[in-house]
Symmetry: C2
């Protein structure tokens, strides 16, 4: 009997127009549209192996080798139910000879190649990998452009959204919009690709992993509190975001980095502004985050005066880490500035995937002419724990058998 | 020949509904109404002596003993011109026998009894003291309730406003509103008293002076940038503030501390939210400020669960210092909590004006039952540089000759 198993990987995405607020907590329907850039799976990814077998006594999930509880009526169960329904209705009911694997229990093992301590939300890549691996197991997606899929990435994004809102955007590569939608049942609140990664392949990202003394408010409870108490959020939802979505889509289509950067920075700041306008207030950025903002703003100020153009855009999610978007040619200079103010430990080697520093630790370089050195202080080593240099990337990928996370016995190969 | 000289003092005020944004930069007309509490001059005050003399060759101003430049067409000149006009039209033109001192040059010496390093805005008390001292010199105000004044405090608030917007609120004691007004010439943008200090005399304030590594954006240029770039400010101006003004005035009239505290904290946070929604973003609070917020929020959470009531309200102006409003009976507990997380240097004696700690350095006490100790870390000594305990206070006061800052020769007694 054949083994019904598939392994896929899915990328992390970092929003430029932020998702903050749900209009439906169960279906995870947002209060506004959002837009993100998909980051390369060469550097950051969740990999998931899904297997269906009639001998499995129950459906089980292992996350980084540790078995997770599948809550009845929870997010994970809702995702699985949707995928089973798609498999049954679109394949099994139409072709009575296909095996009815939707009736079998599943074993699912998922692994993030980035440590939780990196402070990157793993729920987006995680639920996207879960969705795409089960979809592959069920024959719903093909990963072959020439072969039409039974379920499109946008349809699968509806499933991933049930697991974690921003996961829907990880079903595509490139620049991805999550449409707010208007339906109460959520079928129009899905992800669409605004532009593929090939459209603007020089878009790079530098993640500054910031040391955080304490765990902040979870985004689920934080956004709920903002919806309930912020006097400014409704204005953001109704008036600000719709205009920004149009403007940033145009900037992306025109490869207009200046407009892209201005909108991205403004929207990051506005997201943190409505978090602060919450009772009690929510703070995700700390003094280190503020210093990174000061460096990017100063670099842009100097560049604007010299060339008429901006060079970088910061954005912060629900935590203190900065993601700096910039064109490939500027990454080295930005790293040199960041490490000048945030000295790196020698025992924390910089992966340097693009060989900007010959695989060595990056060194501070003289500041650009006219750069006001005093915009930030020099912080102690460890304030920025590490730098991750990556770029725009593609959507979920099929992975080979050799990368499967389940062994021949259907159990995880590596346990926590 | 008699000496034409008057000395008055004026208080600091700290807003509960914040002023942020001008609709007219010259006349200093605000984009929204604001409301403040006047703090006691027993602890914090600006004192000003004004003298008119035909022998003075020019008008001069000394601030803390240092001569200041009086810019032509500047704020100070506009204040002086208004006061001279009032003197001339209301007194000299009507009583030809009164000396025409409005035609003489002035010597003005002003002194703040709190160090600039305390990070308290001195422009409000400073321009209020300047206005009231010249008004007293010119016979416009009387400081005697039984004797009608030639110019009411609200009329004088129009003059102080020309010097520094928030100075207009320091012309009254107690709870003071600055009406936004609608006139283009500003005659209806004035301060009125919502309630005198006797209405709610148990209202106390604890100022936590926070160490700040670097000078932030000046409020004048900061608010200008917010008006120009914040997408959220217009909503605050149009919809949020008018409702909050009504609600906080009712809370004050009802002595409803819970509502007063909720509105005060929400408005402080919203002011900092629109500052963050500015391009480039403006940050006034730092990680120490955030920790103070966390302590007050936690204390309120515990108290709410236990008694159904809040005990404290934080508010932050354009800097990292916290002002905590609370009823007199709660001040000691709040100080004990603050010094637990922000240990004070022994060389920085606490003035203890209300003898809560027998004039000694306050000591940390056990946290209230149920208080989550981990809401903030214990900071290094000096993170909060000092504590100033004060209370609600009265408006400008006449000062005796012994407190005059100008000598018999018309020159400042103390030079910087």
């Amino acid at each position: 009997m054949p083994v019904f198993q598939a392994t896929t990987s899915a990328p992390v995405n970092i929003a430029c127009i932020k998702y903050w607020g749900k209009r439906d907590n169960t279906l995870i329907l947002p209060t506004n549209s959002s837009l993100s850039i998909t980051l390369s799976q060469d550097h950051l990814r969740s990999t998931t192996t899904a297997r269906a077998d009639p001998i499995f006594s129950e459906t089980k999930l292992w996350l980084n080798g540790k078995e997770e509880d599948i809550k009845s009526g929870g997010r994970l169960e809702r995702c699985l139910a949707q995928l089973k329904k798609m498999r049954k209705e679109r394949i099994e009911d139409k072709n009575p000879n296909t095996p009815k694997i939707s009736e079998w229990n599943l074993h699912v093992a998922s692994y993030n190649n980035f440590p939780t301590a990196a402070g990157l939300a793993s729920s987006a890549s995680g639920f996207a990998a879960l969705t795409s691996s089960i979809a592959a197991l069920y024959g719903l997606n093909t990963f072959t452009p020439s072969e039409p899929a039974v379920a499109s990435p946008s349809e699968l994004s509806l499933v991933a959204r049930l697991g974690s809102g921003s996961a829907c955007r990880s079903l595509f590569g490139g620049f991805v919009a999550w449409e707010v939608g208007s339906s109460l049942t959520g079928e129009d609140s899905l992800a669409i690709q605004v532009a593929p990664q090939e459209h603007w392949p020089t878009m790079h990202a530098l993640i500054c992993v910031v040391n955080d003394a304490k765990k902040g408010t979870s985004s689920t409870s934080g956004m709920q509190r903002t919806v309930e108490t912020s006097a400014l959020l409704q204005h953001r939802i109704k008036d600000v975001v719709p205009a920004r979505m149009k403007a940033i889509e145009k900037a992306i289509k025109d490869k207009d980095f200046d407009s892209f950067a201005r909108i991205t920075m403004a929207d990051s700041n506005q997201f943190h502004a409505v978090a602060l306008d919450t009772a009690p207030p929510i703070f995700y950025m700390n003094d280190v985050s503020r210093s990174i903002i000061a460096l990017v703003e100063e670099l842009n100020r100097v560049s604007l005066a010299k060339t008429g153009h901006l060079v970088a855009a910061y954005t912060f999610d629900a935590g203190p880490n900065a993601v700096i978007y910039t064109e490939e040619e500027n990454v080295k200079q930005i790293i040199e500035i960041v490490v000048r103010y945030f000295p790196q430990s020698d025992t924390n080697p910089f992966p340097d995937p693009f060989k900007l520093f010959a695989g060595k630790q990056p060194k501070a370089a003289p500041l650009p002419e006219g750069f006001n050195e005093g915009v930030a202080k020099v912080w102690e080593v460890g304030s920025v724990k590490g730098l991750i240099h990556t770029r725009i990337g593609d959507g979920p990928r099929m992975r080979g058998e050799d990368e499967a996370l389940l062994g021949r016995d259907g159990m995880p190969k590596v346990l926590a």
